[in-house]
Every structure is written in structure tokens, then in C-alpha cells.
């Protein structure tokens, strides 16, 4: 078996072990960088209403960011802001919560252009934990630390039972990192999506 085949098999195994059945998915239209317009695809439709929701760590709930046209799939007109977790929800006409189906979730990273824009640490709202942003590290590591902190706040507020699966990244590498064949496709955004996907799914499944 050559390296490409091995890589593909590893990716399929990883995706099989991590992907849950979700009635739809949402992800960025541009997988290799920001800004991010969300692409959605919701099954079990058509529904009467579709909307983009963002998880609000202050109140611990999903809030509507953009109403969407009545289409089971599409791309948002506007880009969404980074440093947040998004999903798309489709609902029946009565808007009852039970009638709604949610997509998998997608983390849109926050990418600071300067380390001065990043704090020294991120804290939980309850003061239970504080996560370090290594200020002497290169900017991409500081950006990762900060996004880890923000996503940890989300996980903290969501609770264990209310965590939908995360959309599997387009270029998913194994625990050993990307193969030589994958490297040309690995941008800083792709890298961060991989790491945050592992963090989220690891916490969700309590690996």
C-alpha cells in the first residue's frame, strides 16, 4: 500500500470513528482561510424556516444570527465573525422547538493579526479555570491558545449532553500530523480547524 492510500485509509477510519449522524452540516465556504461565509445543507426538509445560530457563552444558549432563505442548502450572504461556534437550524411552520432540526456545528476561528490583540489568558465565567495564551510563542500558537480558550468556554457552558457533533474538517490529518502529501493543503486555518475539531470531539466523547 503506498503512502497516499495509507493516508486515505487513515482519514476514512478517523472520519468513521468521529462522524455522527446529523441531519445536516454547516461549514465555511472557503476552507483555507477567512472571511467565512457559511455553507449549509439540511436534510429531512423542506422546512418552513432556516436560520444561522451562534452559541452565546454569556447566556449559555443558541442565538439567531441570520435568518436564511427557505432553502435546505445554500451560502450565507454575509460572512460571520470569528471566535464562535455556529449551526444552522430548520424548523416547521409552528416554530416549536421539537420541530427543528439542527446541523452539525462549525467553529469559525478568530485570527488576530497581531499578538497585541490577544489576552494573556482566557477564564471561565465561573472562575473554575484559566487557560494560558503563551505570549512568547509565535503568533499562530497564540491564536490557537486563544481559540482553545474560547471553545473551552463554549464546551463549559454547553454541558455534556447538549453537544452536537462538529463538522469534520475538509482536510483531516491523523494524530501524527499531516502526511507529506497533505502538507500543500494545510494552511493555518486548516491546521486550527483540525486541532479544534480534536479538542471538541474529544471533550464531547470524553475520549
Amino acid at each position: 500500500m503506498n503512502k497516499i492510500t495509507t493516508g486515505l485509509v487513515l482519514m476514512i477510519l478517523w472520519q468513521t470513528s468521529y462522524a455522527d449522524q446529523s441531519p445536516g452540516l454547516v461549514k465555511c465556504d472557503n476552507v483555507q482561510g477567512l472571511p467565512c461565509k457559511l455553507v449549509w445543507n439540511i436534510a429531512n426538509g423542506p422546512h418552513a424556516y432556516y436560520r444561522v445560530e451562534r452559541f452565546d457563552t454569556k447566556n449559555g444558549n443558541w442565538i439567531v444570527v441570520q435568518p436564511l432563505p427557505r432553502k435546505p442548502r445554500g451560502v450565507t450572504v454575509n460572512a460571520v465573525s470569528g471566535g464562535s461556534l455556529y449551526r444552522v437550524v430548520g424548523c416547521k411552520p409552528d416554530r416549536a422547538a421539537e420541530s427543528c432540526v439542527g446541523s452539525s456545528v462549525h467553529w469559525v476561528p478568530f485570527q488576530a493579526e497581531s499578538a497585541a490583540d490577544l489576552p494573556d489568558s482566557v477564564r471561565s465565567s465561573t472562575g473554575d479555570w484559566e487557560l494560558v495564551v503563551h505570549k512568547d510563542a509565535p503568533l499562530h500558537m497564540q491564536n490557537l491558545d486563544y481559540n482553545v480558550g474560547l471553545l473551552t468556554q463554549v464546551l463549559d457552558r454547553m454541558g455534556q449532553t447538549a453537544r452536537p457533533p462538529m463538522t469534520v474538517p475538509e482536510y483531516l490529518y491523523s494524530d501524527q500530523g499531516p502526511t507529506a502529501e497533505m502538507l500543500p493543503d494545510i494552511t493555518l486555518d486548516v491546521w486550527m480547524q483540525n486541532e479544534l475539531y480534536r479538542l471538541y470531539e474529544g471533550a464531547r466523547r470524553r475520549r
Partner: protein, 114 residues
């Protein structure tokens, strides 16, 4: 000025408390091709007599990783995709806890990827 005095005093107390706390740090070992390797190190000063290292997949639930730590030390092959922190106790009083750090599964060297 009188109004600002409590704030100044509170800041001094905070600085003193922070200065007494030990630290846990993720540090680079080397750059191999495009990959950056990391180890985890810690140093004092410590108020606590007994210190141990904990890790977890959540920042809120922790497992024991290593105990009876020296004041300064490191682990060269930490478990990846984990949060780490050091908990310090004197008798039954576990009052000292470092800020947590996160170790990713893979990290690129600076400038290795676009």
C-alpha cells in the same frame, strides 16, 4: 486620590498573590521538518508542599498524571490534545492551582505553512 487607594492596594495584593503562584508552561523542543515538538515544564515559587500534575480532555474534569513533583521539572512526551494543570496541597488544604495549558496534537513550525 482617596477613592483610588483601595484599588491600588487591591492591585498590590493581587500582584503579590500572582507572584507566589507557580507556573506550568508549554515549551518548544525542536522543529523537525514542518513539525514543532513540545514539552511541558513547571517552576515555582510554590506555597504548597505536595504538588501533582493533572490532565484532562475537558478543562473541568481532571485525571491524575504524575505526583510528588519537584519544584522545577518537565515531561518530554505529554499526552496530546489534553489540558494540563498543577494542583498543590498542604495536608488536606489544596489551595494552589496553576492556570491550565493546552497541548495540541500537531503544531507547525513558524513559517512552515502558509
Amino acid at each position: 486620590m482617596r477613592r483610588k487607594l483601595p484599588i491600588v492596594l487591591a492591585s498590590l495584593v493581587l500582584v503579590t498573590v500572582m507572584a507566589e503562584a507557580g507556573q506550568l508552561v508549554r515549551e518548544p523542543i525542536s522543529c523537525l521538518g514542518p513539525s514543532q515538538l513540545y514539552f511541558v515544564s513547571w517552576f515555582g515559587p510554590w506555597k504548597a508542599g505536595v504538588k501533582w500534575l493533572e490532565y484532562g480532555v475537558n478543562a473541568t474534569s481532571w485525571d491524575w498524571y504524575s505526583g510528588f513533583l519537584e519544584d522545577v521539572g518537565c515531561i518530554s512526551s505529554p499526552e496530546l490534545n489534553r489540558y494540563y494543570r498543577i494542583m498543590g496541597c498542604r495536608g488536606n488544604n489544596c489551595s494552589q492551582q496553576t492556570a491550565s495549558i493546552y497541548v495540541p496534537s500537531w503544531a507547525p513550525c513558524e513559517g512552515a505553512i502558509p
